[in-house]
């Protein structure tokens, strides 16, 4: 399946782009991250400390073991700092 993947803040900076389309067979967020980390050093760097990574599936916060079935948009970002 093809996913739209978005990156924000320092994750965006480390990966070097704000969004991309990813072809994947990953069934969970964790599996997608494993696939991305294996790609290139910049991905491995962005996802080196998963305790500092948050994920949203179709614009709703989700857990790392959440299933990707039916999802169109995945976003990775650090803990939020609004207000």
């Amino acid at each position: 399946m093809k996913l739209r993947v978005l990156y924000f803040a320092w994750i965006r900076e480390r990966i070097g782009e704000p969004r991309e389309d990813v072809e994947t067979e990953a069934d969970t967020v964790s599996a997608l991250i494993a696939q991305l980390r294996a790609r290139e050093e910049r991905y491995a760097l962005a996802f080196s400390d998963l305790s500092a990574v948050r994920v949203a599936l179709d614009q709703e916060l989700a857990d790392m073991d959440a299933p990707l079935a039916g999802v169109r948009e995945v976003a990775f970002f650090p803990p939020m700092t609004g207000g």
């Binding site: 965006r12 916060l61 976003a75 970002f77 650090p78 803990p79 939020m80 700092t81 609004g82 207000g83």
Partner: protein
């Protein structure tokens, strides 16, 4: 009830006045404003990144939750993104209720959830020119536990 996410500055005083004017039979209005600090001259600029689409959804969901928990006659969230200078107002929330306890609790709830659950990220630039992302504070995450 309203949520506004915008890069443009907003007139905090005028927003407060309009909100209180429209609060009708509420009796109690609480507002919070967040201002860019300059840390005694250490900071020269702030940039706020956000996740268009999700931001509005997240803020509306937080506002809905507040309305379910407390008797509110009105609520407002305005949050800016993009570049800001020290002294500029980043965001505001306002709540109106019949009793002050509800207005205060709902405003604190909106702030606690907005801080840690709405997709905004702050990047600071120091007067020396160093830029860095602001770390999330553990106390902000801990603040959610009280609700």
């Amino acid at each position: 009830m309203a949520v506004r996410v915008q890069s443009a500055a907003f007139d905090y005083g005028a927003e407060c006045a309009a909100f209180a004017q429209g609060a009708g039979d509420a009796g109690a209005v609480v507002t919070f404003a967040g201002i860019v600090r300059d840390e005694g001259g250490r900071l020269s600029a702030m940039e706020i990144e956000h996740y268009p689409g999700m931001t509005e959804r997240a803020l509306a969901a937080i506002e809905d939750e507040a309305r379910e928990r407390w008797h509110l006659s009105d609520a407002l969230i305005i949050h800016r993104f993009g570049p800001l200078a020290p002294g500029e107002i980043i965001m505001m929330v306002a709540t109106a209720a019949r009793h002050r306890g509800d207005a205060f609790a709902a405003a604190e709830y909106l702030m606690d959830y907005l801080k840690s659950r709405a997709p905004f990220w702050k990047k600071e630039t120091t007067a020396k020119g160093d830029a860095g992302w602001v770390d999330a504070r553990e106390s902000d995450e801990a603040a959610l536990k009280r609700w």
